[in-house]
């Protein structure tokens, strides 16, 4: 499921499919109703899109720029801790 909704799949398949759908005559009224919904509510959609972009930015920032390395115990420290536990 997660693979179907991956970013790559969306870009590669879903978006072009939607454009193709828009060219089918029987789908035109549905496309028109979606478009008119967009134009009627564009202020709210703009707010929602802005919020989504901010959240996406924060998510990407942590994913791409934050790479903490945890301190790993050296072999000497590991041996010492084993001795203590014994």
């Amino acid at each position: 499921m997660s693979r179907i909704f991956s970013f790559k799949n969306n870009v590669l398949y879903l978006l072009p499919s939607m454009f193709l759908l828009a060219t089918i005559p029987s789908a035109q009224p549905h496309v028109a109703s979606i478009t008119s919904f967009f134009w009627k509510n564009q202020t709210y959609i703009l707010y929602a899109a802005t919020a989504a972009v901010i959240l996406l930015y924060i998510y990407l920032f942590f994913k791409l720029q934050y790479k903490p390395t945890k301190l790993r115990a050296t072999s000497v420290q590991k041996k010492a801790s084993k001795k203590i536990s014994k």
Partner: protein, 606 residues
């Protein structure tokens, strides 16, 4: 609900805008510019060692190449390009505000002043923030306010832009060859060279954008708080140069997101915590600059009545035109209306190399710089193409300057493309098993050929377009002629007499008392005017009497009203018969009020 919300937001907007019309707010912004300028200088000085460490690794020879580039750039500019105003009436308004900042300590524009001071309570808000006038004001406080000083500063800031691009590219790509070539491409971009000999905002805007990207990249490299603080002040100053630099925030966020220097290692958490402190500081420091942008957005920028400033339909209509600009489609455009040519020049070779550079970045899997530089271009392109005046041919090409912020990214991509192709051919030649000596010779020949291809068109455009004398520049030709006429004749007017004009800032710079012509017969100002002028009045019958520059009532109507109110005779005149203009410009001495069609209150005062 949506209507109520819009009204609420508009209500706040009007309140904020009105705040900027009052002196305490205008004075507060004068101190704000001092604060961010000093903040930038002090933080940069304190962070000097860290910045130097971040730039560690640049070879001495590359500093020599940079110096050669700068010397050649300055030589070409000073020797072949005559400085002139390219944007009317904005450029002299910025210089007049520099005088306001020095004499009145107010960040505002004056439209009613005697020779020494702006009449209290009459200074007004201008839709552009005043960071650039503040910079002009600093040396002006020593050398005096003049156009030549503003031109010199613009040239200095162009040089700084070239230097900051070199550092930015080095920090983002870690390739000094690409960095120096990108700087050279920016320096020899014909439009960049043309703007560098004016005093428009776009050059300092690019400089502060590149200073911000450079300091931000240096911060990401060293994670030094002082360098981070310098970057914050640089961003605040960038936003204080031009309202539309708000779009450059996208570039700043891109670099923050995609810089190859990350918050990593054992100190990642500590650095991230400090970073959030910096973000908090940034919000506080940048807030006044954003408030100014918000107040400016409440004013009309001249969009056609009933139409928005930004729209998807502008984007749809202007996209192709703006795309073709980068392929040199408007290097020479003929306008039938004025039987003249204008130039929105850009070398196609830069764009072709830039496309190759983008492909090469992908090919070598340098995804982060690829996205930084391509999205940088896209952000600028989409922002201005969505703007009502963002078409490259809008206003006979004078608005092509908006794309100045995209010149650096094209320069970087073109430089990368150039370096990649050069390396590819070099490797191919080497693999053919030629002797070392022969390979070296071939490389030099190859470099010269490729540089000739890269810069050939730019050199041609410089010689044929950039170096043309100001009187042959078509956009604002009439305004330029009008300004020259005033510069040649203003000394005939005594400084204690008042000039009724549609260009008060220009007369303010020239130390002549003046009032906006439309205010002369308004009840709010006429008593003060008659009192201060001792009835010694002149009228500047300029190009605004032929062009409806504001309204309603427009300047043409206001001009006619002045002509119908006063008796006057000309003390100087000129005739413009060029670019389909056939108009006469005058400086009149006002002798008294006309008996007919007289403003009743003015009559009784007189």
């Amino acid at each position: 609900m949506a209507l109520a919300m819009t009204l609420f937001i508009l209500g706040i907007g009007a309140q904020v805008l009105s705040l900027f019309q009052h002196e305490p707010f205008q004075a507060a912004y004068f101190y704000y510019y001092i604060f961010i300028f000093l903040g930038l200088v002090i933080a940069s000085m304190l962070g000097y060692k860290e910045i130097k460490k971040a730039l560690h690794g640049i070879g001495k020879s590359y500093y020599i190449y940079l110096a050669i580039t700068i010397v050649l750039f300055v030589f070409l500019e000073v020797a072949f390009v005559t400085p002139t105003h390219l944007l009317y009436n904005d450029e002299y308004i910025y210089v007049s505000i520099a005088k306001m900042l020095i004499t009145e300590h107010l960040a505002a524009v004056c439209s009613f002043s005697n020779a020494t001071m702006c009449v209290p309570g009459t200074a007004g808000f201008i839709h552009q923030p005043l960071g650039w006038p503040f910079i002009i004001a600093i040396p002006s406080s020593i050398f005096g306010v003049s156009f030549s000083l503003a031109y010199a500063l613009e040239l200095i800031f162009s040089v700084l832009a070239i230097v900051f691009l070199f550092y930015t590219v080095y920090l983002l790509l870690m390739d000094q060859r690409v960095a120096i070539l990108a700087s050279a491409i920016l320096a020899f971009t014909p439009l960049f060279m043309r703007y560098s000999m004016s005093s428009i905002l776009d050059i300092p805007a690019v400089t502060f954008l590149l200073l911000s990207t450079f300091l931000l990249a240096a911060y990401m490299r060293r994670k030094s708080m002082v360098v981070g603080a310098a970057a914050v002040f640089a961003i605040a100053y960038m936003l204080s140069i031009k309202v539309d630099m708000i779009s450059a925030l996208a570039i700043i966020l891109l670099i923050l997101l995609l810089d190859s220097d990350k918050f990593e290692g054992v100190d990642a958490k500590k650095h991230l915590k400090r970073f959030f402190i910096l973000v908090a500081i940034a919000v506080i420091v940048i807030f006044p600059a954003l408030l100014y942008v918000y107040a400016a957005s409440q004013m009309s920028f001249g969009a056609p009545q009933g139409q928005p400033n930004f729209s998807f339909s502008y984007l749809k209509n202007d996209s192709l035109e703006n795309l073709l600009f980068w392929f040199g489609a408007y290097n020479k455009v003929y306008t039938q209306q004025f039987n003249s040519y204008y130039y929105s020049e850009f070398p196609i070779t830069y764009t072709i190399f830039a496309i190759m550079g983008a492909v090469a970045l992908l090919r070598y899997k340098k995804y982060r710089p690829f996205f930084i530089f391509t999205l940088w271009f896209l952000a600028i392109f989409l922002f201005y193409t969505s703007y009502y005046a963002g078409g490259v041919n809008y206003g006979a090409g004078d608005d092509v300057r908006y794309f100045s912020s995209a010149f650096p990214t094209i320069a970087v991509l073109a430089a990368y493309g150039f370096a990649s192709i050069f390396d590819y051919i070099k490797i191919k030649a080497k693999s053919k098993g030629k002797k070392n000596q022969k390979v070296l010779k071939t490389n030099y020949i190859l470099l010269i050929i490729m540089l000739s291809i890269l810069f050939g068109e730019a050199v041609w455009l410089f010689a044929t377009v950039v170096a043309v004398p100001p009187l042959h520049i078509y956009p604002f030709a009439a305004e330029r002629y009008d300004e020259n006429f005033i510069m040649q004749n203003y000394q005939q007017i005594p400084s204690n007499c008042f000039v009724l004009t549609f260009k008060p800032p220009l007369w303010y710079i020239l130390d002549r008392s003046n009032i906006y012509a439309g205010w002369a017969y308004s009840s709010s100002y006429e008593y003060e005017l008659l009192n201060m002028s001792n009835r010694c009045l002149y009228f500047d019958y300029g190009i605004s009497c032929y062009i409806n520059s504001t309204g309603p009532p427009n300047t043409e109507q206001q001009c006619n009203q002045v002509m119908n109110t006063f008796n006057m005779y000309p003390i100087a005149s000129t005739h413009l018969d060029n670019y389909s203009w056939n108009v006469s410009l005058f400086l009149y001495k006002i002798t008294g009020l006309k008996n007919s069609s007289v403003n009743s209150s003015m009559n009784s005062s007189a």
